[in-house]
Amino acid sequence: MTRGTIRTSAAGIAALALLVLAAQSGWAQEAAAAGPREYGSFPWIGSRTAIWIAAEVHLMFAAFVLGVPMFAVVAEAIGIFGGDERYDRLSKEFTRLLLIAYSATAMWGAVLVFLLTTLYPRFWAHMTEIFEVSMWIYVGLFFVESFTLYLYYYGWERWKQGRAKLGHWTLGILLNVWGTAVLFIADSWLTYMMSPPADVTPDTSPAMVQAWSAFANATWMPINIHRLIANVVFGGSIVAAYAGYRFLSAKTDDERAHYDWMGYVGNFIAIGALIVLPFAGYYLGREIYEYNQQMGITMMGGFMSWLWIIQAFLIGVLFLAGNYYLWVGMGRIPGAERFLPYTKWMLFVLIIGVIVWSTPHTMIADRAELEAMGGSHHPFLGVLGVMSAKNTAVNLMILTTFLSFLMYRRANRRPVVGWARTGTILQAGLFVIAAAVVLFYGVYGYFVSAIVRIGFSVYQVLAVLATIIGVMALDVAMLRGSESRGEIRWGQMPPRSQYALFVLVVTFTWLMGLMGFARSGIRQHWHVWEVMRDTSQWAATPALGFAAQIISVCVIIFLGMISFIFWLGGLVEKPQLVPKGR
């Protein structure tokens, strides 16, 4: 420090001494900046990517451990009330998978929390100040949930008979109650980030935010519902893939029969829940629009518009793979031959659906149209224009998939009721009406303005829903006491069908990662939308290509870990098999 004239006043010397000391010992910055640091930094991949992977993989595990208990408990109930022992076994096997996946979920949760506190301290401080109470309850529920799970699994054989079995089943229900509560609490945090109550502004001190209004914010319920259903889909598809793997590596016919059946059930659950998922999606989308138009528009027409094309492609793959699996499976059902000729037409509808839904051609035509109207500089708005076509395609695909299930149900049965013929004609009529309604509004949509057109999707959805319900009701009544055309030959399934299950699980997992990106990406450069800005170097929201790479990494980590976990589970316990068929 030789530069300049040094002031001779005592204060100057003191200040200088302090400064030299401070500068050398390096605490000058902390002392001067007065306040905690705002961001940490993570080596190599950076904070954003680190937190992204931690959150996504945690979420995948969480979705699995929340989804599986739902159908474990249903399967157990079928076992108890329907008297089918196979379902009880199935339920126990689900739960065994759950047990090990549970600790992986907790581990990734810990990783996420530690990364949040170290990399995003300012944001984390904001969140904890608002949500502290719910955070305590959250960890409390963890204990309760874990112990319920232990009791549920380890008490299985002990409480197997009579009243004790009902008690055991109640444990399963409780497990779901805790799991749902945990989900709802976590959802409140992330939906707050998306849609904080309108009276919270950048100047609001977190201490002044009303905890409940932050908790039950605008998108909380829609996300809750969307996630509950998606978890079932996800859990089902993982169970199906697990069964697929065990089927392929099975040594005995009994084993093959068991895992063939398990794969079928898993797939049934996944596709069945998938069919209602778009409706939950509409609900969520509507709430987002209602909360903030700009956010909704950014989501559907802004920089994210291409995301929906990719999503459409993935959903197309799901429908194709799911239906393919069902069709191949008809080979093991006596009497299913009579339906086989129809499958090629259904395939045709599905493929057209996928093409319409994910084609960019219509988009370009539409853009030209817009420009002719004196329009947009924004190259991607055209997507909105094809919403009509997209909705039409997805609704027809849902109908087709439902038809596949119906054929599956019907394959080895012969109705005995007198009105069976009329009933079938009625069912066919319902299908035709639904398809006509969907098509009519799809085409009509091109002749009306966007505002009116959005309303049309509701009619399309209602027509499809009504048909599914009506046809199912008819079917149940019609098959009452029906004759069998022969037992399903479980286990007699060509191996290629099982690969469809793997495609399904990868696609679901990837889709979940994609939707996660969409959900948190629409916040753009905000930690908390219009309340807390992301001022870190990672504030910009990356393009889809980069996002896809991260999503793929998450999917590989998750699938890798879960395979390892299942493999471990297989070492511990050989499942007891129940002889096929009943």
Binding site: A32, F303, W306, G374, Q524, V531
Partner: protein, 262 residues
């Protein structure tokens, strides 16, 4: 068995690869962060218009609604029988000149809702700073009208620019971009940076050759402690409070940046 395992692995990785490639094959659009504007002194209309145009077409998010013709009125092109926004802004509300009208449209969008549209236009002061809003107003005025936004509009807005920028806990903004900081904190009002700025204190060019990073940090945190040779008559002029206005990250960014200027 290993054959089967490999096949499964192939199917899994193959599917993942297809999705990844697909997502990389489409147009790659990033959602940018609206760039904070920091004009100092006189700003030319061109500068404002330029900045405004970039925001309008990019990070400002306006084109999500404007330009479609149905959701929101066209701004750059004629809307119905009226001309583009710069031409029609003065006739919208009696007694409100173009500039006032546009400003109100942005920060109080529901004060006057254009006939035939819904009140969905967001209040832009929630997301954009005043400098950003004014530059966009200048840009809109340039679309068929006369630009009347000047530096005085920006200056009038300056005091609450910090709160409008929102969210940032400390300092005027939370950017860690050193050049932006030098302008924002008005360092360039007293230090020359290249051709920019006044020479009250020592120029920043070559400062890294004269001072070590520790000395630079010291000079910012406690300017009174040492006085640069040749600038004795200005001793005490440099504000002593930058230490409390900067975050640690910002301070380090500045020190690092200045130390690099050899």
């Amino acid at each position: 068995m290993w054959g089967t395992n490999l096949k499964i692995l192939g199917v899994v990785l193959g599917t993942i690869a297809v999705y990844t490639l697909l997502a990389n094959a489409i147009p790659q659009i990033e959602s940018e962060v609206p760039e904070e504007l920091s004009f100092t002194g006189e700003v030319s209309a061109e500068e404002l218009i330029d900045a405004g145009e970039q925001l309008y077409a990019g990070a400002g998010g306006c084109t999500a609604c404007h330009g479609l013709g149905t959701r929101a009125p066209n701004l750059l092109t004629a809307q119905g029988s009226e001309g583009p926004i710069g031409a029609r802004c003065g006739n919208r509300v009696p007694g409100e000149d173009c500039k006032t009208y546009l400003h109100r449209s942005m920060v109080e969008p529901n004060a006057h809702v254009v006939d035939g549209f819904q009140p969905i236009m967001p209040d832009m002061s929630r997301t954009l700073s005043d400098a950003q809003i004014w530059s966009m107003i200048a840009y809109l005025q340039s679309q068929g009208g006369e630009v009347t936004v000047t530096s005085s509009d920006l200056a009038a807005a300056a005091p609450d620019a910090a709160s409008a920028a929102g969210g940032a806990a400390a300092g005027p903004s939370a950017t860690t971009d050193p050049e932006a900081l030098l302008r924002e904190l008005q360092c360039v009002a007293c230090h020359k940076l290249g051709a920019e700025g006044q020479e009250v204190g020592p120029p920043f060019d070559g400062i890294g050759a004269r001072l070590s990073p520790d000395e630079i940090r010291g000079a910012i945190l406690d300017p009174a402690a040492t006085v640069s040779p040749g600038y004795e008559q200005f001793a005490g002029v440099m504000p002593p409070n930058f230490g409390s206005r900067l975050t640690a990250a910002q301070l380090e960014a500045l020190v690092g940046y200045l130390a690099e200027r050899r």
